[in-house]
Structure formats: C-alpha cells, structure tokens
Symmetry: C2
Subunit: 392 residues, 2 copies
C-alpha cells in the first residue's frame, strides 16, 4: 500500500517541481509471504517470504504492471530512493521513473527479492534460503534448504503478482540473472507476459557459464569456516565469500575499466609490489576491499545456492529451442558485446534461436568500459529502444 502511495507522491512531486528527471521517486520495501511453497524439486517450504517494492500506481483493471527481475548480487531496489538522503537510487533508476523510458506515471512497476537472495545482512532485503529459520526445527536450514531454480524464483514472483490481482504483465524485464528470470517467465507463463526485455543475459546457461560459476564459488568451498554450510552462530566463511565476491566484480567488469581506472599503480605509495609477496597493486586492493565489504552483508550459502540456480538454468526447464518455441512475447534483447559473463556469442545464440522460432526480436547493444555491468549502469543508452519497445 505504502509503495503505491510513494508512487503517487512521486508523481505529485514531479508535477510540483515540473522536472520529472530530477525528482527522486521515494519508495518503500514491503514483504510478501506465502504460507507454503513447493519447489520445482518437490520440497514444500513453509512461510516463504520475499521483499518487494513498487513504483507508480496499479490502474483499476490492473493492466499496467511491469515486473523487474534483479541480478545475482542485487535485490528488488530497481529504482527510486528510500529517503531523499540516500547516496544512490535503485540500479535501473535511469530508465524507471516518472517520465522515464519505463514511465511510472503510466505503469505500475514492481520488483521482488529472489529466494536465496545474497544480501541477508541488508535490513531492506527479505528472502528465504539457507540462512532462514526452518519453522520445523527453529534452526537455520543451512544445506538442508532444497536446491532452488530460476523457475522457483519466478513462481514466487508469480504468486506475488497474482496476489495483487494482476492477470497479465505488460512487460517482464531484468539484467543478467534478471534476464534469465525474464526468459523463464516468458517461456513458462507465455500468456502472462506481454513483452520481455532481457538485458545482458541468455536463455540458457551453457557449459562455459556453468564452469565459470564454479570459479565464483571455489573460494567459499575451500574456506574452513564454511564447514559444509554449517556456520550459523559461528564464524562465517567471510574470507572465502570476500574472494568470491571479488571474482564476481572482476568478471562483471571489462579490462577497459580496470586498466583505465587503476593502471599499474601500487596500492600504497612507497610499498612497491615487487618488494614483498603481500604488497599489492591498487587494482588488487580495491577489489579485495570491495569484496570484504560486500561479504559482511552477504551469506555464503546463499551465494552457493544462487550459483547452483544459475548453473541449472534453461528457460522453461528444457532447452533453448524449447523455450523459444513456447515464448509468445515480443523480445527486446540488450547486450554489451564486451561482456565477460555473458559473452556476445552466447547472446547471439539466444537471438538466433529466437529468430529461428519466429519470435519478434529486437536486438540492441550498449557500449562502455564496464562490459557486463554496462547493462546495469549504462542502461540510459537504451532508453529510446525501451520506450519504442513499450509503445509498439
């Protein structure tokens, strides 16, 4: 409820200030709860909760909703701010808001935290995963939590959407793991998805992505504090998790950024990296520090379950060809050719398979120094394409 009010207030603010782009959209995180949810693997979980937020107002016939799905390390904060003083708005604020490409004066935009969301230490995030208390034991599930899939993420979102009385979404969209959820929605619930915008993500995890996701997970599995997932109430495996998050950050960027930003500068003046094994270059210390900071608000088991969900992913549960034969929605596919997580050839395979299946495909590319991350932080480049896609 408050989210809707926030959306309305945003609109009012715009009208008063007369400058839609500069006006902050003030949003609020809410919680959606399912008394019971049965995973695709067949395990029934009680009291499944996820956080969610929304921007704009749901119209009377509930026909103006757009769902945004978040990426691996993100949460449902896709746009707006919780308070004017917030340092930064949600990750896709450049294209979501009053008068923006996804115009919250026109659309009701919502987004939810996924199951096994990484950011368990973020007070704004609500999720259900290995770190959650199992109501049957009153202890954290740890590795007793079942394997969940991108399909499970989508099924929980579907329950949220249906709880609001929404029968069909104008569009489902998201970057990276958000694109995976988008294709999953379009393939599994083709009659509920009007349009689908998949940004920096493919419709199936290939062997290369499966193997790289293992590289992300590796430092956690080696950390003795991981203790086969049993670390709640003890010292968590933050050394391994920090290294894992460092890998994610590095692969989500491109050499144009690391080289242009850091060069071969030492981390500290006067501490020549050649003088001691532990002396670092700046690029090493910045990435390590970022990983360590992120680890403090993240959960290592959730990281591993996210890795697994991404590895298992094939939209609709079968194959790329099957997914494309089931999708009805027109597709807007956006990628960055220098992406190191979802390389261009992987996106091209999805585009080719979609066209082969007769789908209505618009494919646009964005540029930048960040590679994969440009799909998050440089999305303003695609605003014209997004607007045109929504209007067509």
């Amino acid at each position: 409820m408050k989210g809707w009010i926030a959306g309305v207030l945003g609109v009012v603010g715009v009208m008063v200030a007369g400058m839609a782009e500069a006006q902050d959209l003030i949003v609020e995180k809410k919680v959606f709860e399912l008394p019971s949810y049965t995973t695709q693997g067949g395990r029934t979980l009680k009291n499944v909760k996820v956080g969610w937020e929304s921007y704009g107002t749901l119209n009377a016939d509930k026909s103006n909703a757009i769902l945004i799905c978040h990426f691996f390390s993100a949460n449902s904060h896709a746009a707006g701010k919780y308070a004017v003083a917030d340092a930064a708005p949600g990750y896709w604020d450049a294209i979501i808001g009053p008068g923006k490409a996804i115009d919250t004066n026109k659309y009701f935009v919502l987004s939810s935290d996924t199951l096994v969301n990484l950011n368990t230490g973020d007070p704004k995030v609500t999720t259900t995963g290995p770190a959650s208390i199992d109501p049957d034991t009153n202890k954290p599930y740890a590795l007793d939590f079942p394997v969940v899939t991108i399909g499970d993420f989508v099924n929980v979102q579907k329950a949220l959407v249906e709880s609001l009385g929404i029968k069909k979404l104008v569009m489902v969209a998201g970057p990276s793991m958000g694109a995976l959820q988008t294709y999953e929605w379009a393939a599994s619930y083709p009659d509920m998805v009007g349009k689908a915008m998949a940004v920096i993500g493919a419709a199936e995890a290939d062997a290369q992505l499966i193997a790289w996701l293992d590289v992300w997970a590796a430092p956690i599995l080696v950390d003795p504090n991981w203790n086969k997932g049993d670390y709640y109430g003890k010292t968590p495996p933050n050394a391994g998790l920090a290294k894992a998050l460092t890998v994610v950050t590095l692969q989500a960027n491109h050499g144009d950024w690391t080289n242009g930003t850091f060069g071969r500068r030492p981390a500290k003046e006067g501490e020549n990296p050649g003088k001691a094994l532990g002396n670092k270059f700046q690029v090493q210390s910045i990435l390590d520090n970022a990983g360590e900071a992120r680890a403090k608000v993240s959960d290592a088991n959730h990281f591993l379950y996210l890795v697994k969900a991404n590895q298992l992913y094939a939209a609709g549960g079968k194959s790329l060809a099957d997914a494309m034969s089931r999708i009805k929605a027109p597709l807007l596919i956006v990628n960055q050719p220098k992406d190191l997580v979802f390389p261009d050839e992987m996106i091209q395979r999805t585009v080719a398979e979609a066209k082969k299946a007769g789908r209505d495909v618009t494919h646009v590319t964005i540029q930048g120094t960040r590679g994969h991350l440009d799909g998050v932080i440089s999305m303003k480049q695609a605003e014209g394409a997004v607007k045109a896609f929504l209007e067509k």
Copy 2:
C-alpha cells in the same frame, strides 16, 4: 652432453627412416646449477638449480642456438620425448624437431625450467623456489624465499646460455609466460637476441591481468592448509591448489571448447545436477578432476610466486614503451583473438607500441576452439610464419 647426443641420434634416426615428421626426437633432462644468484630484488640465493633440455647440435662457433621459454604451468619439455613409449611429446613438438619449422637439423634448441616452477612433483623438473631446501637452514624456504621476477627467470637462463659459450641467440621464443620471458630477453639483452617470437603473450601485465591472476591465487590463500606458506612436512593445501589449477585450465580455454565438448551433460547418468547441491555437470567434474590430478604434482607456494612474477611483469622492468625502445630484434607476434588470458586488445597494444617504436613486427593470428591454449596446441598453424621469420 647427453642432450646433444640425443639431438644427433634424432637426426640419424630421421636419415635412416627418411620421414622427419614421424620420427620421435629423444631428449634428456639435464640440470644447470649456479653456486650463487642475486635476484633483481637484491637477495643472494645459493645453489640455484634449474632443469633444462636441448634438441639438435650446437655448431662449432655456437651461433645456431634458439631458446624456448615455457608457459605458467609447463616446464622445459618443449619438444621430443624422453622415451619412445611416452604418451605425448613436449608441448611445441609440432614446430620443433628435425625438418620442422624450428629445424633441429639446423638449430640447437634449448629450454630451461624457470625458477619457482610449478611442477615440483614431476621427477623430470628441477627448480629453485619456496619448496627448495635453503642451504643456510636445511629447511624449505617457504615464504622466506624472495619475490622473483620474469627478469630473474631470464637472468638464470642467461647464465645457462653463457655457460654453453653462446654469445648470441638466433631467436628467443615462447608461449604465454614464455612470451613474457621472450620480451624480457629482447628488452634487457637486446644484443643477445637475434629474433624474438612472442606467442599468446604481451610485453606488460596490465591491471586486468594482475586482477585475474589474483582470482587464480584466491583458493590457495583461503585453504587453511596453506598456513601462510608453512606446510612442508604437513598436509599441503591441495584443495585450494586444485581449485586454482581449475581456474587456470578454464581461462586458458574458450567457450567454443567447453560448450562443444561438454554441453549440459550431467557428470553421471542418473545424477541430475538439480537434485542435490553436490551433483555436477560433466564440465564441472572434468575440470575439478584435472585440477586435483595436477595439484598432486604441483606446489602451492610456487603457484603464488609465479602469480606474483607475472603480476610484476613489465618487459625490461619499466614500461611497454620503454621496452619497445630498447628491443632490437625483429618480432614475430602470434596470438589467438579469442584468448581469455591475454585478450586480443592487450596483444594489439603491444603490437601498436612495437610499431610506434619502429620495431620490425610481423603479427599473425591462429584459430581454434581453445582460445589461449591454441598458442600451445595449435601452433602448427603458424609453422609457415615461423619458418619464414627464421629464414628472413
């Protein structure tokens, strides 16, 4: 001595059999010892030993020598076999041998194990590094071993070359870390290097490579058995080392290979990867098994010292521009545009800087599904270019 004899026998064998390409070159590993070596960092090490081998015969005026430098996880076994029954010859056997592009009927080809060579458990490898016994303490150096550089690798090779009475090399060549050593040779000892062939490697480590090398090292640093390098006589950090080697293998290949070879097949029929967190896809189990097998004959500290040497690398010790201003040798630069370790743009920067400095540069590319590794296993594609470069 025996190496030379082996070289001669190889030639004789060729003459008898009359089919140069099919004839195995039988080689022997030898050991070169320096009573004392002072690192670029200023630390003096006693009894520095490295293994080496050679193919062909050094001529009377010692003017027909070619030095091959090895890659990160390799050793001096560049060509030939130790015994006819060996499963495979040295890594560049396709271009080194009687009648081949680097013709051992004409050239005396030699190669040495680097300092801190990874393969301490390989009985054919001799190296000096953290796993070696410090003559002053009679205990392994562990992390008391000084940081060494690609320049140190080259300086030890120079001592070997000079011990044979060789004043100038016809060519220095190598793939990957071997290319780094090649540029180092050409920049630091321009009058000793007639020609330089740098394959799948650049003349300076950039921020992106420095950061990726940290990803390689990360699982070792988290493994409790690493114990800050103090594990000799105890359980070695093979879990971390295995994961580290898995990362190297993955990045040294390309998605064309992983996807084409493994697809989304499960590791074991009937063990659906979706059914349990530990159930794997084939690509995961094959890479993990390869990493575990390699870990058993490798040393984790040596891995970390190799990472450091590569991170510190700038040919000649200063910068790419400085290196290119000092090099005199014509350059044959070979790369694979799909290389994920030394991406095409990194090689292009080296090529551009070499041309800007007025160097004589020939740049050729090779193709394949392996990416970086094509510079090792697909080098036959470049044999025409190598032959022409040597003859010009």
